[in-house]
Symmetry: C2
Subunit: 704 residues, 2 copies
């Protein structure tokens, strides 16, 4: 039955044609003076790097985390193994008494969604945030001990973004002081719920609270769904895995239906709102202000991670395209003939190096976003703001609900816009990296394809990237109205709007090619211009909201790009960076700033024209001179720059992105020695009903 | 062991919340007067539609083509089943005496790459085109009888685009009049070769011909690689499957190495060039002109298919987004409150309806491209042009090799540019469709994800989409030089260049919003402007080729978009269409033309400004008025327009794209009843080494 599974000696003796990938990467590293360690420390901090090394060592010691078969497995085996990994990870966490941060690092290194993910990420968090002390005792404790394994059941088959449209009911029974949890329609089936499909025995269910026939909107209820011993579904509960997906197949996203399941009064998470069992009345949250807290934190995390997410693809592509050689440079003199590294072609550089710059831009923006979030948390707890339900802001609630404090509104607008822009940029960028690698980018062994597939839903969850832009527009319109009223600017947004108003009759004259601060100012100008344009459409011309959605989306992008450029600018002009990086390494950061912002400016050039933030001539020069020159200047440092993102090979699991450049050796090894398909022999003839010799497939029996 | 595999009665009784998807699609169809049958006939021809019905019926009668488990399978099972399908398809082809066209239709309906694909597509074709009559007897006959199953082994681990860099050697041994086929390095391993991994027993191997130590470039050699009886690899041959990929996992793309394998003189395919065994001299092809033939045909096919490829995603997304309802229109009056179809939101329309228009644009362009190809073939055979090797034009050969006849050069330039643009557009568009569907778009049951993954390599093969743009630029530069010399225009390209030259001092004044022919003219103007810009850089300013690659890529896109707009324009102004379509249906085609061309114009607006093909005001009006109005006008007809692409549900294999709108029912059915993961029960606790109850997994044993 064995076919060609193990290579004969004459194959083992073969080497790639020279120069070897390993030599090429050595030369690349020798030719640049970027201080990798310094830059890595600046990006992540020394402490985090040490933590990563320690955790990595422990993971590498466990056979279940060995990744060599990951790319070969089907959905079923993928999930089974992932469940094993989740268990082992939990065991290690207990054994080594890992902090939350250490667990996060372990998850990062393992790099696949695991079945306890939503238990840890959302079930525990919901209980903590929304449970009373008694509920902590009853639900949180066993959940922290993994006796209860839970999930967060919000989205339904028929409703995602519009949380207020959820169909699942929680009907208050005053007779016996219980709630009846019920799914009235097929579309009310919970759907996409991570950790629910096979793993969870509890769910935090978002359901429409009904008292005396009157609806009070979605609230969270803890419902046990499977037996703690047998793991069988409880009566009148129907749940399972929703099936294979584009990616994320190591997670058991599930469905869940209830047929009039009764739960006690104490299962409604009651920290903020509740039903008074004596009066049968609804107890409102102490403050009607929406919580921006949790979701803002989740979005800020997405922004923070987007740089590294993208850097992973950029690291792989940059290393491979330095090793890959193809064609001669047609203008090279005869004596220099020999194949050129593909990374030397400008058509490759223009796809890859702006993305490399983008990694830094997103990372610094994420750090800025986190700092803003934390500053806000401090002020919040100082002013003891109360919190309530958060669900409505996932989608686009009415304009009027946005009347929280200015601080919150700013944080909310910023996090929505940046989540949308940064996750979109990372998704698109990863696919760009994969394609830039040509044929081999399509192999699973490139390591980019599956990463893209697993990351892709980030563009949809925690606020769909298109939907969110309405929140940003709403915030900007509101800010513009304040400025128009003559109120003093009280944050950066109102400042750039006020500046624009003051200057609009004089016009802009930004020296984008000469001064970095003018680049930032040009982005600010464009954002302000389109804000007032949109405001005019809405308030003066009374255009319908629906007719303005495309404008709002563009406006959100414009404003968020301004925020990214501003964060990058501020980072490279900070005291911190000039203390931590040597002048050459810092100078290169400065070039990356210019590459990101001028390349993006050129890509969006029509908006910069239209708003008169730049002239046509400036854009042309940016395109034909500045960007091309920056590519040339950054190119020699590309390998060291990606090295500074510090991805261990174990994490990348990529033939093409290997640190040592042994690209072809690894491709060949995986194909010839790890591939299960090479352990069987086919019968190739059309008239034979045998497919693989010596193997019967009951699924296909009698069908040929 | 069974978990929740089959839904209980109370679940079976559930229906989606109303209005039902089936009602919605009925209403949609009732509200439009597009004549679907007429339009379908116009797109594909009556004959082709009948053929499709007949073939579909036969396929549906064969259990092996039943698709319900396709999305659940892993690589191994996917391939095994695909081999079974390939065999059955071959059996049916023989049984029903299917023509090539009927087989193609069957493949389309099955919609997955099958293991005989490259035997049929490339091995047979290479033998036919490049074999002598004796070789036809010896190799083609048994191959046509499926005794030999072959593949086309060109690409190597180290070389793809640069065919002249192939490393595999074919050394002529004058002593015994044989060739030694040899792989000197690991990188010379053949790689990506479809049908090779498990299926083929023969290969047509492209190898560097060496005579007396002197290289003569790559030539095709037939080499047997596996035993015809045992299917074992022959001595000194090492081959296998290259492993899992982003998509295309039903195909056994393979690797192949040779250790000094001797083959007879007669195994070099010798129709055009050969080694004279008497003189030991190389016999050159009768004409050094490159073959544009085969590859041009392949590229034209890609252009032709791109419309349907994209239409498949657009069909699914349009139907689903009409059924999907989410949020209320915030400006709707109170009495109209109720959730809005997502297809009514302009942010959804702007993503989907221009793509719908694009399907028609690409389809008409493909038909135009095919007509051009066929006209050329006629002229070619009339003038008895001889043909030779084709390999060099896959990549970017030197400028000088482009000196074929003008006719060929035009065909070549057009097919390269359109292949690049149209396949890129389809790849991007499919992913756009998937994302527009939000969460459910991520489910395998959407049917779009796997289709995107399988189609994605089209952007790389038959000329990488970026590489090809150099060919287009080269052709345009050459044409521009001719025009500058004062030669009379002899084709459309030289005509638009000459027109631009004549008018450039007067400037353009195209009424793009008023006259359709002016839209075409504006696209032509932009293409000509950037052609002369590039020419100046290259010829006057002596810029290096490498430094111009990005400009060339943009130039190719500009010119190819002109071709698409022109083809669309010509189609809707043809006699044929006005005879076949009723006035309303035709009027809608006209709107689709305007939507495609104005939307694209706006997306590329900076190039239209820069070239002065349009004014800033025109672009602004196109964006804010014309495009938005067209969306509104086309929206009511969206369902009927996608119906006209005539995809049977069996082909789409999509819950979301069902013709009857039963989206949620089908999602639920597949998840709950077809999903193998729901046939097992997990043990969820971290301290238990059991993963699925009652199942032992030897792979994971001892690892927990």
């Amino acid at each position: 039955m064995a076919d060609e599974s193990s290579p004969p000696d004459w194959v083992r003796a073969l080497k790639p044609a020279g120069p070897q990938g390993s030599e090429i990467l050595k030369q690349e590293r020798a030719a640049s003076n970027v201080n990798v360690d310094q830059l890595t420390s600046f990006l992540f901090g020394k402490e985090a790097l040490d933590r990563k090394r320690d955790v990595l060592k422990i993971l590498q010691g466990e056979p279940i985390f060995e990744k060599s078969q990951d790319y070969f497995e089907g959905r079923f085996e993928k999930f089974e193994r992932a469940l094993g990994r989740a268990k082992k990870l939990r065991q290690l966490t207990v054994k080594h008494n890992w902090s939350q941060e250490e667990s996060r690092v372990a998850n990062d290194l393992i790099s696949e969604p695991l079945p306890y993910g939503l238990h840890e990420g959302m079930y525990l968090k919901t209980l903590r945030d929304q449970g009373t002390p008694e509920q902590h005792e009853k639900f949180l404790k066993p959940a922290e001990a993994y006796q209860h394994i839970g999930c967060y059941a919000q989205t339904e088959l028929g409703h995602g973004s519009n949380v207020r449209g959820l169909e699942t009911l929680a009907i208050w029974n005053k007779e016996d002081q219980t709630f009846t949890i019920h799914s009235p329609h097929l579309t009310s089936s919970k759907w996409w719920i991570g950790s629910l499909g096979k793993t969870a025995n509890h769910a935090s269910v978002m359901a429409q609270l009904i008292i005396d026939g009157k609806p009070y909107g979605p609230h969270p209820f803890v419902v046990q769904i499977r037996d703690l011993k047998t793991h069988k579904l409880l009566p009148n509960v129907y749940a399972g895995d929703i099936g294979p997906k584009f990616g994320y197949n190591t997670m058991d996203n599930g469905f869940l239906l209830f047929n009039k399941v009764k739960i006690p009064h104490g299962n409604m998470l009651a920290r903020y709102s509740a039903v008074d069992p004596k009066t049968n009345k609804y107890i409102k949250p102490s403050s009607p202000t929406l919580v921006y807290g949790t979701l803002t934190w989740v979005r800020s995390t997405i922004v923070l991670q987007s740089g590294s997410v993208l850097a992973r693809g950029v690291t792989i592509a940059t290393r491979y395209l330095a090793v890959r050689r193809q064609f001669q440079d047609r203008d090279a003199p005869e004596w220099q003939k020999g194949e050129n590294q593909t990374l030397n072609y400008t058509m490759v550089q223009i796809r890859l190096l702006p993305l490399l710059a983008t990694c830094f831009a997103l990372h610094y923006t994420g750090k800025g976003m986190m700092a803003l979030y934390e500053a806000n948390q401090k002020k919040m707890s100082a002013s003891k703001r109360s919190v309530g339900q958060e669900q409505t802001i996932r989608g686009a609630g009415p304009e009027e609900t946005q009347s929280g404090s200015d601080l919150l509104a700013d944080l909310h607008g910023t996090s929505c816009g940046l989540k949308s822009l940064c996750s979109h940029t990372a998704v698109e960028g990863l696919e760009m990296c994969r394609r830039a690698m040509g044929g081999h980018g399509y192999s699973a062994f490139s390591g980019v394809g599956h990463w893209f597939l697993d990351y892709a839903p980030t563009a949809t969850w925690e606020g769909d990237n298109y939907m969110l832009t309405q929140q940003v527009a709403r915030y900007l319109l509101k800010s513009a109205r304040t400025v128009l009223k003559g109120n003093e600017p009280n944050n950066d947004t109102t400042e750039i709007l006020a500046y624009y108003l003051k200057r609009q009759d004089v016009g802009a004259a930004f020296d984008i090619l000469g001064k970095d601060e003018d680049i930032v100012a040009a982005y600010a100008w464009r954002s302000a211009y389109f804000t007032f344009e949109a405001l005019k459409q809405r308030d003066e011309l009374k255009q319908s909201w629906n007719s303005l959605l495309v404008q709002f989306w563009k406006l959100s992008r414009a404003h968020s790009q301004y925020l990214v450029v501003k964060n990058f600018y501020e980072t490279i002009h900070s005291n911190e960076i000039s203390q931590e990086l040597d002048p050459e390494t810092l100078a290169l950061q400065h070039k990356l700033f210019r590459l990101y912002s001028l390349y993006t400016l050129e890509s969006e050039s029509s908006e910069f024209f239209t708003s008169s933030a730049c002239t046509v001539a400036q854009i042309r020069l940016a395109r034909t001179r500045a960007v091309m020159q920056l590519l040339e200047e950054i190119r020699p440092h590309a390998i060291r720059l990606v090295d500074s993102w510090d991805f261990p090979d174990w994490q990348l699991n990529s033939s093409l992105g290997r640190y040592d450049g042994k690209v072809y050796e690894d491709m060949f090894y995986r194909a010839s020695e790890l591939n299960p398909l090479n352990k069987v022999m086919a019968d190739p003839y059309p008239d034979s009903a045998v497919l693989f010799k010596g193997r019967e497939n009951p699924q296909l029996k009698g069908k040929l």
